[in-house]
Symmetry: C2
Subunit: 427 residues, 2 copies
C-alpha cells in the first residue's frame, strides 16, 4: 500500500491512473474465433470447448434433468441465501419500472415514451475458481422484470462437462429460459450470431476476461448491443476520523481479493485513520485464504490523506469509482455531492459486499472511470423506450408552418412537402 | 420501387435486409488521424481542416462576435420556427426528468437511484449541403435539461472558415457552451482526448459519414462513450386501405431524399393502396429539387403487400424500423403491438417530418434494426443513474448472514469478512 499525504493537484491525474486495458491487440485472434463460430455454429463451439475449457461435450444445452439435480447438490442455507438476495434484487429493480406519460407539447401534438423489454438477451457468466451465481441473479432478475422473452445464459463447464449447481439453481430461480455450456469468445460469438442450438440475442451482458471483453467489443461494432465496457473492479472508501479502521480495512481487502489488478483506494481527512488502516489491513490479511491475490493487488493500493472534506469530494468525483463507500459523519450530506460513481454505500454498516450480493442494488457497474458517462446495469439496461406521437388537425396547423420553414432551410423539400400535403387537405 | 405481393416467411430476411455498413476497414486510416490529433492537439486539427474541409483557420473556437452576427443573418421566420421547435423539444424532454424513490428492500436496507447529468458532452454536427440546425436542437436541448455542465459542439466550417448562421443561432439558443470549427475524424478525436482549445468530453453524440462513425467506434472502445451505432436512415409506413396514397407517397419521398442509401418501405394490407402509391410517388418525385437522390434511393424501396394486419405487425417488428408511420384505422390499437421501432408516428396527420423537426420527440434514433436493442436519444442519454444504499443495524442483521453464505460459496472470504466485522460490532 502506498501512503500519500496531501498530494498537490498536479499529482492527481497520476494518482488516479488505472492500469490501461488494451484489447485491440487481441482483435485478430478473437475475430478468428468469432468467424469460425459464426460460420460453423455448434461444431465450432464444441471444438473450442474441448480446446479452451478441456471439456468434451456432445451437446451444448443444459438439460432440465441437470437443472433438477443441481437443486439437490447445494445446501439449504445457500438456497435460502440466494432466494433472499433474489427477492431484494427483484424488489429494487421492480421499483424501477418506467411508465411513460402522454405530454401535449402543443395543442393537438401528443408525445410519449413506452418501455418495452428487449426481446432476446444473452447473459455471460465466466468460469474460473468461483461460481458467480450472484451475477446470474444480477442479470437475470431485471431481464425477467423487463419482460425479455428469451433469456439465454452461457457459462463454461468444468473439465467433466458440468456447470456448478449454484449457477444452475440461481438461473432457474431467476427465470433464465435456456442455459448453454459455452464459455469465452465462442460463447459471445454464439449469442451474437446464433448457432443451431444457441439463439441469436440482441444484447449481451456480463463480465469476463480480456478475450471476452474484446469479443463483446468486436460484435458490438455492428451486430449486437453490449452492457458496457469492462475493466478491473475497484473501490474507494471516503472516510473521516469517525470511521472504523477495522471496517475500512475489511472493505479494502474485499476489493483486493478480486484479482491482482483490482484497485482499492482510501481517501481520508484523518491521518490517524490512514495509519490505523495500514495496521488493520495487515492483521486481517494474514487470515485470508486468497491472501496472495490480495497482497499483490494491495501493492497498487493508495491511502490518500487530504486537507479537508471538500478536497476529498473533488478527488472522488475526479476518480469516478465503481464502488464508493462513504464512512463519514453526515454521510447523507456528503452523498448529495457525489456526481461520478457507480454505486455508493453509505455509513458504517453498509459494506460493498451488501450490494455485491443481497441488498437489492445491481453489482454490474462502470469501472475504469466509465462512471463519468455510464450507469450501472439496472432495469433500463433491459428495455428500450420507444417514442410515439399523435398529431391531430389543430396540432399540424400549429406546428406545420414551422416544420415547412425548417425543412426548406435544411434543403429537404420532400420533408416540407409531407407537411404541405396534409395542411392542404385541411383547407 | 419494388412491388412485392404476399411474400412467404422464407423471403422475409431477404426482404428486410439493410445495406451492410462495414467500418472496420476504415479503422487504420481513422486511427492515424485520431493519434495525430491526440498527440499534436490543435495543430493537427488545423492541418486536417485545411486538408479535408479546405478551410484555412488560425483558431478553432467560434467567437461570441460570430454568434452575435449569425442572428442577423437568418430570417425572422426561421428564427421563430427554430424557437417553436426548441420549446416543444424542451417540453417533451423536461417531462422525462427522473426522480428516484427510496425503496426499503428489507427492514433497515434502503436503496435508491439518483440521476446526475454527464458533466461534459460533445455534440457533432456534420457539414455538407444542408445545415443541420435541427440536430443541434435535438442534442443540445436535452443536454441542457439534464444538467450537463459543459456542452461542446464541433461542426466543419465552409471553405471560407464560416459556420452556417442557423447552426450558430440554434446552438446559442439551446445553451451550447463552446462551439468549434472542426469536422470529421479530427473533431471526434479532439472531443475524445481534448486539445489546447477543445475540451475532452465524456460522451459524444451526433450523426456523420462512415469516417465519423468509424472514429466514434474506435474512441468508444476505451476512452469515451457514444450515443449509439449509426447507419443509413429509414422509414416504414404501415398502412391499410384507409390511408391516403398522397400522404404515404410524401412520407416515403421525405425519407428517400436523405441519401441514396436511405430506406423507404411500405407494408400494406391494401393492393389498391400499393398501386396508387407507385403512381403518386412518381407524380410527387417530378417536382422535387433533390429528385436524383430520391430516385436512386427509391430503387431499393419496397412496397410489400401482406395478407392481414397480423402479418403486417409481425413483419414490422422483425424489421425494427427507425421511423414507423402507422396510417390505419384504429392506429392506437395497432401501436400497442409495436415492440421494435425507434419512433412511431400515428394517424394520417403525423408525418415523420413532425418528429424530425418540431413536435418535441427526438430525431436521433436507432437505424439498421438497432431498435431491437437500443432506444433513441432522450434525456436518459445525457444522465447517469447512480445507485445509493444505506443499511442500518436491523438491515445488516437481516441480510448479513445471507451475504456471508453467498460470499463463502463464491470463495470470497474478504467479502464475507466485511460483513462479519460489522455483525460482530453489533453483538
Amino acid at each position: 500500500m502506498k501512503l500519500i499525504k496531501y498530494p498537490s493537484k498536479e499529482q492527481w491525474s497520476e494518482l488516479l491512473k488505472r492500469p490501461t486495458l488494451n484489447t485491440e491487440n487481441l482483435f485478430d485472434t478473437v475475430r478468428t474465433i468469432i468467424n469460425k463460430v459464426r460460420f460453423e455454429g455448434d461444431k465450432a463451439v464444441l471444438e473450442y470447448e474441448a480446446t479452451f475449457d478441456k471439456a468434451v461435450l456432445s451437446t451444448l444445452p443444459v438439460t432440465s434433468e441437470e437443472i433438477k439435480e443441481a437443486e439437490g447438490k447445494i445446501s439449504n442455507e445457500l438456497k435460502a441465501a440466494i432466494s433472499l438476495a433474489k427477492q431484494n434484487i427483484e424488489t429494487f429493480h421492480a421499483s424501477q419500472r418506467f411508465v411513460g406519460k402522454k405530454v401535449e407539447t402543443m395543442n393537438g401534438v401528443t408525445c410519449w415514451q413506452k418501455a418495452v423489454g428487449i426481446e432476446k438477451v444473452g447473459l455471460y457468466i465466466p468460469g474460473g475458481t468461483a461460481p458467480l451465481f450472484s451475477t446470474v441473479l444480477m442479470l437475470a432478475v431485471p431481464a425477467k422484470i423487463a419482460g425479455c422473452k428469451e433469456i439465454v445464459l452461457c457459462t463454461p463447464p468444468d473439465k467433466n462437462g458440468n456447470i456448478h449447481p449454484a449457477i444452475l439453481f440461481a438461473a432457474q430461480l431467476a427465470g433464465v429460459s435456456k442455459i448453454f455450456k459455452a464459455g469465452g469468445v465462442q460463447a459471445i460469438a454464439a449469442m451474437a450470431y446464433g448457432t443451431e442450438s444457441i439463439p441469436k440475442v440482441y444484447k449481451i451482458f456480463g463480465p469476463g476476461n480480456q478475450y471476452v471483453t474484446a469479443a463483446k467489443q468486436l460484435v458490438s461494432l455492428r451486430d449486437v448491443a453490449i452492457d458496457m465496457p469492462a475493466g478491473p473492479s475497484e473501490v474507494e472508501v471516503l472516510a473521516d476520523a469517525s470511521a472504523s479502521p477495522v471496517f475500512v480495512a475489511a472493505d479494502l481487502l474485499s476489493q483486493a481479493e478480486h484479482g491482482v489488478d483490482s484497485q482499492a483506494m482510501l481517501i481520508t481527512t484523518s491521518e490517524k485513520l490512514q495509519a490505523e488502516v495500514v495496521l488493520e489491513v495487515e492483521r486481517q490479511l494474514a487470515k485470508l485464504p486468497r491472501k496472495e491475490i490480495a497482497e499483490k493487488s494491495l501493492e497498487n493500493s493508495k491511502l490518500i490523506l487530504v486537507r479537508d472534506l471538500e478536497e476529498a469530494l473533488e478527488l472522488t468525483n475526479a476518480y469516478a469509482p465503481e464502488h464508493l463507500i462513504i464512512e463519514t459523519e453526515n454521510y447523507l450530506e456528503v452523498a448529495e455531492r457525489i456526481t461520478n460513481a457507480g454505486s455508493v454505500f453509505l455509513g458504517s454498516l453498509t459494506p460493498e459486499s451488501a450490494g455485491d450480493y443481497a441488498s437489492g442494488t445491481n453489482h454490474t457497474l462502470p469501472t475504469n472511470g466509465y462512471a463519468k458517462a455510464y450507469s450501472g446495469v439496472s432495469l433500463d439496461s433491459f428495455i428500450r423506450k420507444i417514442t410515439f406521437q399523435e398529431i391531430i388537425s389543430d396540432g399540424i396547423q400549429a406546428i406545420g408552418p414551422a416544420i415547412e420553414e425548417m425543412a426548406a432551410n435544411e434543403h429537404l423539400d420532400a420533408h416540407k412537402n409531407a407537411v404541405t400535403v396534409r395542411l392542404d387537405s385541411l383547407k
